[in-house]
């Protein structure tokens, strides 16, 4: 499969945007500016971008606690994202959601989710909706290796396969659920192998290689659009940061520094960058331009968030029920 130059550059840019956004989030959190919990996507950019670049704009995704990357890849406005992280009224959820609940239904983002695995049936339900409406979008559920041990993983995928729904299950296997290595809590090495329990195709790919991810995802998308049902894509990846911002030195209690260093050498952005440079699609100066442009965007996002007002306390009472007419 050959991707057009623009597409490749767009993928590169998105990965850089995710990375820089997350670095800014980390910085602002450590400075005590951002409240709440944040789980950074740094190191895993190739998964979100690889998968989502295989989607159409009208396709759906359902995201996780580690969700900023998915949103950015799907096209979220980072100004509204940053404002949400600040708890400002101009954020995606008017400050009601925060990092773990960003959603943008207009561009098919069904929401990040603070409950691990919970998005699996939600994305599948969107796929059911697609099937019932007779349209040809697809839905994607992202989740981690930890989520793959939750009961809802099983229920959700089984039903999707029984009903042949157009949904892709993307397991972002970064090997750890907080401090717990997957090998300590499951007896198999590839979560992708669980596809056989549901009679669906599996793809097990290098999650640090955005092109490999993109290729697998493209096949899965085609499979779904053709009405053949769900697929399970396992992307082997790694988070370069602690489980959440502020975990600090506790991280080293559960994963060896050498392991981290090894994986960092496989940085997905560096990898794509050198491939693109090799293919003469990217140059160092273009890369610099991209970097500068995104720095600017992020600065703007922070400024937007900073200058936005907090919601009025009374607004806490709004938005619980839809108050308009019945159907």
């Amino acid at each position: 499969m050959k991707l057009e130059k623009e597409k490749l550059l767009d993928m590169y840019e998105k990965m850089v945007r995710i990375r820089k956004f997350e670095m800014k989030v980390e910085e602002l959190h450590i400075q005590g500016i951002l409240p709440g919990l944040k789980h950074l996507y740094i190191g895993e950019e190739a998964v979100a971008v690889g998968v989502i670049s295989a989607l159409r704009e009208d396709d759906y995704i359902a995201s996780t606690h580690r969700g900023h990357g998915h949103c950015i890849a799907k096209g979220s406005d980072i100004k509204k994202m940053m404002a949400e992280l600040y708890g400002k009224k101009t954020g995606y959820c008017k400050g009601k959601g925060g990092s773990m609940h960003i959603s943008d239904i207009d561009i098919g983002i069904l929401g990040a989710n603070g409950i691990v695995g919970a998005n699996i049936p939600i994305a599948s339900g969107a796929a059911l909706s697609i099937k019932l409406r007779g349209t040809d979008e697809v839905a994607v559920s992202f989740f981690g290796d930890g989520a793959a041990n939750e009961g809802i993983f099983h229920e959700g995928i089984n039903l999707a396969s029984a009903w042949k729904l157009p949904v892709m299950f993307v397991c972002e296997n970064n090997q750890y659920a907080i401090s717990t290595h997957q090998s300590r809590v499951t007896a198999i090495s590839n979560m992708g192998d669980r596809a056989s329990s549901y009679g669906i195709p599996k793809f097990i790919v290098d999650g640090m290689d955005v092109l490999a991810v993109h290729q697998a995802a493209s096949k899965a998308v085609r499979w779904a659009r053709e009405g053949k049902g769900p697929t399970l894509i396992e992307c082997k990846t790694y988070r370069f940061k602690g489980h959440y911002v502020g975990e600090g030195s506790r991280e080293l209690s559960y994963r060896p520094e050498e392991e981290l260093e090894e994986w960092k050498k496989r940085c997905p952005i560096e990898k794509l960058k050198s491939e693109l440079i090799e293919k003469n699609i990217l140059t160092c100066s273009l890369a610099k331009k991209v970097s500068d442009k995104i720095d600017g965007e992020i600065e703007e996002a922070v400024k937007f968030a900073e200058e936005s007002p907090y919601p009025d306390p009374q607004e806490a009472l709004d938005d619980l029920f839809f108050e308009g007419a019945l159907r």
Binding site: Y92, C93, K96, I105, P121, S129, I152, F322, R327
Partner: protein, 325 residues
């Protein structure tokens, strides 16, 4: 007027709405050709086919999660839990997802989703098939809760629930499904959050819902022969709660009992009681009385279960005590 069973009236509501709106579909365990273990969907599969009346695997969490995913992407699902005790398997999807989805999105997402839940003891079905768990959901902001007691009410309230653009849970007592009542041929709806005075009376107010409405009415009849005039209020909805109707009655009778089949401690009766105390304290001649099932799991053996669940006799005796205080 024609008579329908509660089950028939419920099915009719759904059928009418499904005919008008092709985005409505139904999913649950054995709801298809089998028509629902308790007849909750009888005839729907024949009429609408298996695309719109979908049998699911035993996967309660997935049932609700799927319904939610469909609800926020253009469909209007009706999901069924076979009985209330199974809600325990879907609490994350109901409480953490369905109830909060709109709010967490800052009001951008709509969740038009009806969850139907048969429930109730007195079937000798023992501890894991007899629970009344409504108070958990009354304690969960973001849900609407109905608990209709008659064929007329279940039809009218389900129609509204299906038209709602918010999540609704309908608790339907299994012992009511085969009861009959008048249901007009013409289409109608009933508003959620509106209680009904089922029987007027001067001496004492009894607030109740679901199956217990009938036990309270019988108790009231019995007491009327002893010269005690009982007003019986059927709440019909638990969220929102029509506290105005209750308080108006209490201001008249100055005495009140609340009756439900859920176990007493932490039941909805506590909430209703406190709302009365908060709003009508100075009108109360005696403490608000709560009558609920005893605080044990529902036992299997008939004499045990009958001892645990409020009977007509017990309700009557307690009301008498209040009036004679």
């Amino acid at each position: 007027m024609r008579e329908l069973t509660y089950a028939e009236a419920a099915v009719e509501a759904i059928q009418e709405e499904m005919e008008k709106d092709t985005t409505i579909f139904y999913m649950g365990e054995d709801v298809g050709r089998f028509g629902g273990t308790y007849g909750t969907t009888k005839g729907l599969w024949e009429r609408f086919g298996e695309d719109r009346v979908r049998d699911t695997p035993l996967s309660e969490a997935a049932i609700i999660g799927y319904a939610l995913g469909a609800a926020i992407t253009g469909m209007r699902p009706i999901a069924e839990m076979m009985f209330a005790d199974l809600l325990c398997l879907a609490m994350d999807q109901i409480v953490n997802q369905v109830a909060k989805m709109r709010y967490m999105s800052g009001g951008k997402i709509r969740v038009p989703l009806l969850i139907r839940v048969p429930l109730g003891g007195l079937r000798r079905a023992a501890a894991q098939h007899s629970q009344h768990l409504e108070s958990w959901f009354v304690h969960t902001p973001g849900l609407r809760i109905i608990a209709p007691s008659s064929p007329y009410d279940v039809k009218g309230l389900l129609k509204t629930a299906i038209k709602e653009n918010n999540p609704v849970i309908s608790f339907e007592h299994i012992m009511l499904y085969q009861t009959k009542g008048e249901v007009p041929e013409e289409s109608y709806v009933l508003p959620m959050g509106k209680a009904e005075v089922k029987r007027e009376g001067r001496d004492v107010t009894v607030v109740t819902y679901s199956l217990m409405v009938h036990r309270c009415l019988s108790a009231a009849e019995k007491l009327s022969k002893e010269g005690i005039d009982v007003e019986v209020i059927d709440l019909r909805s638990l969220s929102p709660l029509d506290i105005e109707t209750v308080v108006a009655s209490v201001k008249k009778t100055n005495k009140v009992a609340i009756v439900h089949q859920a176990s007493l401690t932490g039941g909805v009766g506590a909430e209703i009681g406190m709302r009365i105390v908060e709003t009508a304290f100075d009108y109360l001649d005696s403490p608000v009385k709560r009558i609920g099932s005893l605080d044990v799991p529902v036992p299997f053996s008939p004499p045990l279960e009958d001892f645990v669940v409020p009977t007509e006799e017990k309700i009557a005796a307690e009301i008498k005590k209040i009036v004679r205080r």
